[in-house]
Symmetry: C2
Subunit: 675 residues, 2 copies
């Protein structure tokens, strides 16, 4: 790479990411509850922006009559959330050092099951980014329909922006998160209360979509039996997306102020109260305002210009119904909803890289994920997460309804397994505990976690069955593949460590002799002379310059030139009847090898200025190097040579190219022991 | 790569391509005229299979009335061919050593113009393969309509088969070519004569398509003025495809028996006579049988099931009309037509690789194109040609009508420039010639070539104008790009040669000292010990083992272990506050460098058994090696280490991994001059 370009890329990197940070520079202060809530809960709170909508959407397929099931499904989701939150309050108390599901399951159910949770969580973090950003974009488009055609571009740009922010490393994130989250919660609750008051006063708000009826999309209107059950359960599964992100608080216990566990448990409860209020409020209001949603605006009979007009999100429809479609209230709700959804995506950026780093430190992922970059963040994890989410958004056209089916499978896998792990944890504690009061508390805690495990396990099965063919198979496949890959990487690293281990207290160095230095020669040129000079500096027993005679005339010409050069080292010619270069040379070197001898093969490495020029050089060298690696006792010595064309790009060429053959004061020399 | 896999891939290669051939094994014998004609003329002869058809197709766009212009256009094409063949007879006489257009133009009009011809010809060879194979497939599909849906696959498979045959190297090609070509010529002429006799007897053969009228596809039926002229000229351009491949004979003069030039000139004349007869015969017969062609079978009113039924080629329509659609004659004509078209594609395989090799030897293309492979053929050129043609066939859906517009631009560029070059050639000869009789002959030859240059130049302009927007811009762009790339490569190679040149008679070797051997250490493991042993074998003034402290605790642990190891070489620790590995090491090495000192940096290179394992190793090593190449006076020494997992795949591991630290008889040693 040229120096100019390196400097430019360095400047761009610094401009975007800021100056590098020294190891050990102070990190974020501990969070009080009022800041911890928005930092850790923006994901579960924001998911009310799509949970109701996707539930309604699935029910709509079955026709208007099914919409009356909505309150019952909402109640089921709320009940489920209560159970999960109570369970996680136990986790927070039991693991004040941050009881991420991966940790809890690894400790209690063994590393393989833990790894399954790890794989599920990694996949789910990707989906959190994709779904949250897609939903954020949908809410932006609801407010500014002109952006409808740029959905995917907008989504990818948002992911890119999040990536940059996270690569810089956000230090003041607490405060930055607080305002939008509270403004969102306040706005949604205000909207719900206003709507309910208007309804109580007899002026019920009505969504614009209430006037359009649903175009029946199911093949036969009257769904019955298994199909009906399936549809209702699928709607329930979609509603369960309201639960995503609950475990973020349990991961983040160490960031809380003392008493950490108690504060975290309180924050969990507060989060649950807010999430449940908002979810219930939005669902009730959607029923009152008779919101109609469909997968495509063309599924609504009478919808104007269904091809080019985006459908509004449920939040947007409600805000328009309550505050008026041109009112300040409408734009306020849309703005804070979009903002909080993007913050929710950001929580995945806070979750994925440390988990990947932990897995890498435990040797389940390549080492590169374990190291912090310039700005003390796990750069590789951030980039991988962003890339995966970007591809998903692009592949699924930034559609929430499409992406939602891939989601929550991982969440419920980790819910179920971590609750099961907690049951194991309490069993273990009960075995050691004698104090009756403590034992009673532990018994109660175990019951709570067992209930949580059974309930979330049941939901996991429901989600798996109802969503599998809708796209969840992709999630299962991805998590399985990831699990297998991580297993293989772990096995590989373990085998290598064992293989390379030496007993440090009895380290031996074998006494070896450099018997030969071999210099393959194609032309008698400056790099060859430098290689010869370097070879002499190594003081081997013998120096062998060899050329491969692919073309008889050329080889003869080189031999003649060599003979007239006055070089003391003779040139040997290897026959190559099949016009190969590598094979005769490797064979030659192999014949020279001896048990306690080492052979150095010197190969020129040309450094070029332009990328395409690189393709014109070093081809045979690379191949030769690979082949020589299989010959015992051979070290390959690369002798760099900077081509002058590279100098056009590297201003300080003199500093780089060591006196391109420092002439004048040199004499022809040759090592006396050259054969 | 594992040994098992290497052996397997070797066996597959040998099975497909045969055993390697020694340099200098006997090549093809010289060709008598009766074999030279089919070998070199299958391309121009086979092009009658599509020339008439594509001419009719273009005229059809203007409506039925325009079809009556066909005989006039055919006459123009025949006249043009006569002029070109007479011109090339001069070339053959003037360049008995094989007057390829590239040679003629380079010699007479300078290397840059020659290179333009080279680029045009390379592009045209690709199109020869694409068009010939596409037309061959169209004739196969005409006989076996069931293959209609597999056109592209069939075309690509044929290209692959040609590639394999050519990679094997066809030695008996003369005889293999003779039969199909003569059977084709005989069949076509017989068909024309039979058809004409039936017409003379009043039983004119009638094509099945005569019953379907053309669906008017031009926007307004009555074309007039410029648009009409354009259409007619475009039809003429399409007809000119009959001329492709004429220059093959002039390239092949050295392969003729003595007297080479005369035999080649005679063969050229014979080829022209046959091509003109067939072209005229097919065109006349097509008029008599009222053949209708259209770009798509749906453009023919009344054509049955136009979506799924392929249109027949003109050859197929005529054969069906003359011999009956189920007759043996029909299938015979289709079979030999397809066969001869595929042989025509093969002539490009004989032309492209030697031209690429010539350009590579003159340093316009990467060296790899100049060398012959196992089987003495220019393998890289063959593969490149096949890949390019395959991509074109795939991109253009193996449609002759689409590909034809890209074609012949290169042919006419080379015609025009080589005739112009010949004029220059005669001028030069006239300057030196005094004998009046010879001068007179040279004057006449110059006149012929001048006429050829003017006529083909005119056609070139016509082709360029009428075909540019139809796709020929792609050809122009490709040839221009190729020309620019070849120019750049040439400049680069020339600069490098000049830069690396040394005066062989005054070759100096600088006297250098190996001052330091630097061993970057991450762990105290077996590869580190091997690197230390190798470093001692190099006998440098000092050995420096250094570690970079990315993590303070890890660095401390390594230092403790090293201290207890009893190794005489001390370990130095480099601080890395920004968690970088490369920069501190490169800085350290840079500080050690001295004007007449060389530094060896020893890096382990891990060889793994499975491809994905490679990604888990050598990452930082590769980066370090690249950066160290910029430090003056540094040689990078790679110390191969075969991971045991590689041994699962390499049966002879013991032969490859040099005594993975041969323990037992070793003593701890350290070079006395270690600081």
């Amino acid at each position: 790479m040229s120096r100019v370009r390196r400097v430019a890329s360095f400047l761009i990197k610094r401009l975007l990411l800021g100056r590098p940070l020294r190891s050990g520079q102070p990190r974020t202060a501990l969070l009080p509850k009022r800041l911890a809530l928005p930092v850790f809960a923006s994901d579960p709170l924001s998911s009310v922006a799509y949970a109701t909508q996707e539930m309604l959407l699935v029910l709509s397929v079955g026709g208007l009559s099914l919409l009356y099931l909505t309150p019952w499904l909402a109640c089921a989701v709320i009940l489920l959330m209560t159970v999960v939150v109570i369970s996680y309050r136990q986790v927070v108390r039991a693991y004040p050092e941050g009881g991420g599901s991966y940790q809890v399951v690894s400790t209690n159910l063994g590393p393989s099951t833990g790894l399954a949770v790890g794989a599920a969580l990694l996949v789910d973090y990707v989906l959190t980014v994709a779904v949250s950003v897609a939903s954020g974009v949908a809410n932006i488009v609801s407010a500014v329909p002109a952006l409808h055609g740029y959905r995917v571009g907008l989504a990818v740009a948002l992911v890119a922006a999040l990536t940059l922010v996270n690569l810089r490393g956000v230090r003041e994130s607490g405060r930055a998160f607080a305002a939008p989250t509270y403004l969102f919660v306040g706005g949604i609750l205000l909207m719900c209360v206003t709507g309910l008051i208007r309804w109580a006063l007899g002026h019920a708000p009505t969504a614009e979509s209430a006037q359009y009826s649903l175009v029946q999309t199911a093949p036969d209107a009257g769904l019955a039996g298994a199909a009906l059950v399936m549809l209702v359960l699928r709607a329930f599964s979609s509603g369960c997306t309201a639960l995503t992100g609950v475990e973020a608080i349990s991961n983040g216990v160490p960031a809380f102020r003392e008493p950490k566990s108690r504060n975290a448990a309180t924050t969990l409860a507060a989060m649950a109260a807010l999430a449940i209020s908002m979810f219930a409020g939005i669902t009730v209001l959607a029923m009152i305002a008779r919101v109609h949603v469909a997968a495509d605006s063309c599924d609504l009979a009478g919808f104007p210009d269904c091809r080019n007009t985006p459908q509004l999100t449920v939040i947007a429809q409600l805000a328009a119904a309550v505050f008026g479609a041109d009112g300040l209230g409408f734009f306020y709700i849309q703005a804070v909803t979009a903002l909080v959804l993007i913050l929710a995506a950001n929580t995945a950026f806070n979750g994925f890289p440390p988990l990947a780093s932990l897995l890498a430190r435990r040797r389940y992922l390549p080492r590169q994920f374990s190291t912090r970059g310039d700005r003390l963040v796990f750069s590789n994890g951030i980039v991988l997460l962003a890339a995966a989410a970007g591809v998903l958004l692009w592949a699924f056209d930034a559609s929430v309804s499409a992406l939602i089916h891939l989601y929550i499978l991982g969440v419920f896998t980790s819910f179920t397994l971590s609750q099961a792990g907690m049951v194991r944890h309490w069993n273990h504690r009960l075995d050691q505990e004698r104090d009756p009061a403590t034992r009673k508390r532990q018994h109660a805690a175990r019951a709570v976690n067992a209930l949580g495990a059974v309930v979330t396990g049941g939901v996991l099965v429901v989600v798996l069955i109802t969503k599998f063919t809708q796209g969840a198979w992709l999630t299962v496949l991805a998590a399985l593949a990831l699990w297998t890959v991580m297993k293989s990487i772990h096995r590989h690293y373990a085998a290598v460590t064992e293989e390379l281990a030496v007993d440090g207290r009895k380290a031996h160095l074998e006494e070896l002799r450099l018997t030969h230095a071999v210099i393959p020669v194609a032309n008698l040129d400056a790099p060859t002379l430098r290689s010869l000079a370097y070879a002499e500096a190594l003081r081997p027993d013998a120096i062998q310059a060899v050329t491969v005679a692919v073309d008889h005339d050329e080889a003869q010409a080189l031999n003649d030139e060599w003979g007239h050069s006055g070089l003391a080292i003779p040139l040997q010619t290897l026959a190559s009847p099949y016009r190969e270069i590598t094979r005769p040379l490797v064979g030659y070197v192999r014949k020279l090898s001896s048990p306690h001898g080492v052979i150095a093969v010197l190969l020129p490495q040309f450094m070029t200025g332009r990328w395409w020029e690189q393709m014109l050089h070093n081809r045979s060298t690379l191949w030769l190097q690979l082949r020589l690696a299989f010959v015992p006792g051979v070290m390959v010595v690369t002798v760099p040579w900077h081509l002058a064309s590279a100098a056009h790009h590297t201003p300080h060429r003199t500093a780089y190219a060591p006196g391109a053959v420092r002439r004048g004061h040199n004499v022809i020399s040759s090592s006396p022991d050259t054969r």
